[in-house]
Amino acid sequence: MHTQPPAALDSILHQHGHQPTELLQILIDAQALEGWLPAPTLTDIARALQLPRARVEGVAGFYSFLHTRPAGRYRVLFSDNITDRMLGNAELMDALCRKLWIEPGKLSEDGLVSIATTSCTGLCDQGPAMLVNGRAISQLTHRRINEIAELIRQQRPLDAWPTEYFHIDDNIRRRDTLLSLTMKPGEALAAAIARGRDGWLAEMQASNLRGRGGAGFATAVKWASARNAAGDTKVIVCNADEGEPGTFKDRVLLNSFADLVFEGMTLAAWAVGASEGFLYLRGEYQYLRPQLEAVLARRRAAQLLGADVLGQTGFDFDIRIHLGAGAYVCGEESALIESLEGKRGTPRIRPPFPVTHGYLGRPTVVNNVETLAKTCLIALHGGEAFAATGTAQSAGTKLLSISGDCAAPGIYEYPFGVSIARVLEDCGASDTQAVQVGGASGMCLAAYEFQRRIAYEDVPTAGAFMIFDGTRDLFEVARSFVHFFAHESCGFCTPCRVGTALLKGFMDKLADGHGAQADLADIDWLDRLLKNASHCGLGSAAPNPVIDTLQKFRPAYERRLVSLDFEPAFDLDAALAEARQLTTRDDPGAHLQTHEEDTP
């Protein structure tokens, strides 16, 4: 016997046209009904979409922001990037837990509230930050935490909370060509259309623009491949997953320069001959969605999207927004495409590459938010002008997301080639011990490297720039990143699924004071296997913070070693404490000798 899904769920299913590709979007909307996804809801969704229930359960279990167990009417997630930690997020979380009488990670007995941590929410310049039922609150202080505890206790709906809580700053500190561009919507597009598809692609080629999402792939080459690929429907995807810890420049572009981003997507569609566009927006940024939808609506009304864009017969292109739900790996382009198709975000085997077989097997271009915004400059001023700035192999400018120990964290736009030292000076950093460039998967630079330059040929970066002064412990920095990777591993391949968990275990063992020299050898070995054998960039980058800090800040590790050879991960003697208490014994015979070197 089967009953109809409840009306509210039914209307969600209708809104999404009962499309299996919409599964993730449906789950996100369905969760809003009760704050979690009860088992019968998954069954109803599976039946309505004619999918195996196990597949629906598989997807629901993949994303951090989807709950298959009750999670409370108020779901509080503290952002747990190292920068949040440096700003005292642990104390604040502790305080909130105490005020609400709950344990982290557990639901309160009355089912009202749960409090836990989440990976970097992209508010490092205004942390510590949190998400409450998916909505971002920054600049947390003890005072704000007290107020929030009170609001939750009074069960005040989120819409009735003070609006200033939800205010997010851009913090733009330095503008270069992109951030000082003022352009009427459609201007760049008109220029590109006037050049014709070939002419426009030729400008892109001349510009030497390379991807700003991390890998630095030549954008024109990617576009040309998709354009030449067989297939009628082609797809442009803007990657706004921005999950790399310490990165937040895409958030600012989407907040204040959305027209440039959407125009860039349309410019890509013009070059490639694409008709379908997606903005893959990370769940942490869902508060931006209403304003982004408004920009899209305006652009449709202005004939910048839809059928016959700018009057060009046959140039049909529109953009839809898809939300992520807490999975860093979905920034990897093939995992992103799986997620767009409503599946678990598992990276695909490549080849084939997305440019030939992407979304639903269609030729698909995936580009970063910043990459796409930059194409407007090229359409307006030409490829040569763009190529003339920056360095030989890195044309144009780069947005840096600066956070950590400095006077003025925020967004800085520099021409490529700027030195680390110059950036540190501009943002008011002093006594800098190290800089983590490119996020957790990037490079950790020590003071002797501060003359190096931001450029693909020297220090490449997707934009994160986290600063650590002399008071910081670089071992703890690396350990927090290792925790991040273990939490975010999709679990598809053996080396990363198990390797990141093992690495986390070793780092915790050292942190707990049980480390031995033999552990450093095992860490080395794991680092190499992760790098070599992982299926995607997440696993191969996961050991980077450890490799760099072990090489450059080795004393931070060695300080923690208790012995030069083997040391078990637990303290045998301490494990007997309870037995001693029960038997009221504390004589030498009730203790184990665990440290040989302790005995004279």
Partner: protein, 237 residues
């Protein structure tokens, strides 16, 4: 003219689109595998088939062979990495080989022998994975799952049932069955499904004749996994 690449210095011919692993096996060279199955597209998850091709580490099952490539497989370096991957799979689950019905027929165990895995090396995770004995004919002992998804693929693509799927993420990833109750008995699974016969380890076990073939006389007691896989390949071609 047939095209060829070099595997540990020996020429291996291949056809267009063939993977390094397929071409090697066809030519009588063994590259180990766990998640690969000749009747299914490559999965690429276990990484046991890892080789070095033109200086880069790649999965032999998922990488198309290329003319003139020099591929290293049976080297101390690659075998060392394979041993490490096996150790990871062993500590991740709960594998008590001596009491396992699959002992002697298990590919994970056989590979442990083949790659001289003498110790687990890493700390055990001891995950909690309750068994599902609800089905009249088949028992699921999740403790031994290595996530090769062969049961998932067989049930979905051959049996047309989609009885199995993975959920969770990272180290918490686990197998679930297609029923709201979570019980195999409440799915349309049958002991005659391909999915009931494809698990390379001891998760999907048939009830009834326990230990019908005594330990000591089983597949990998009689010959190594290397010998058996190459013989199977020859028989099927």
């Amino acid at each position: 003219m047939t095209r060829q690449f070099l595997l540990d210095g020996q020429p291996v011919p291949f056809e267009d689109g063939q993977s390094i692993l397929e071409a090697a096996r066809q030519a009588g060279h063994y590259i180990p595998s766990l998640c690969w199955h000749k009747d299914f597209p490559a999965h690429g998850s276990c990484k046991l088939c890892i080789v070095k091709a033109a200086g880069r580490h790649v999965s032999a099952c998922a990488t198309p062979a290329r003319e003139g490539w020099e591929v290293e497989s049976n080297t101390p370096e690659m075998n060392g990495e394979r041993r490490g991957l096996l150790q990871m799979l062993f500590v991740e689950g709960n594998h008590f080989c001596p009491s396992c019905e699959k002992s002697g027929n298990c590919e994970l165990q056989a590979l442990g022998y083949e790659y001289e895995m003498l110790s687990p090396r890493f700390r055990h995770f001891y995950p909690e994975r309750p068994v599902d004995a609800s089905h009249p004919d088949v028992l699921l002992d999740f403790n031994r799952c290595i996530f090769c998804e062969l049961c998932v693929r067989a049930s979905r693509d051959v049996d047309g049932k989609a009885v199995f799927a993975l959920t969770g993420r990272g180290i918490d990833k686990h197998l679930v069955v297609n029923a709201e109750s979570g019980r195999l008995a409440d799915t349309d699974f049958s002991k005659d499904d391909l999915a009931a016969h494809i698990c390379p380890v001891g998760v999907i076990l048939h009830k009834g004749p326990g230990f019908a073939v005594p330990i000591g006389e089983r597949d990998y007691d009689r010959e190594s996994i290397r010998q058996k896989k190459l013989r199977d390949e020859e028989a099927s071609s």
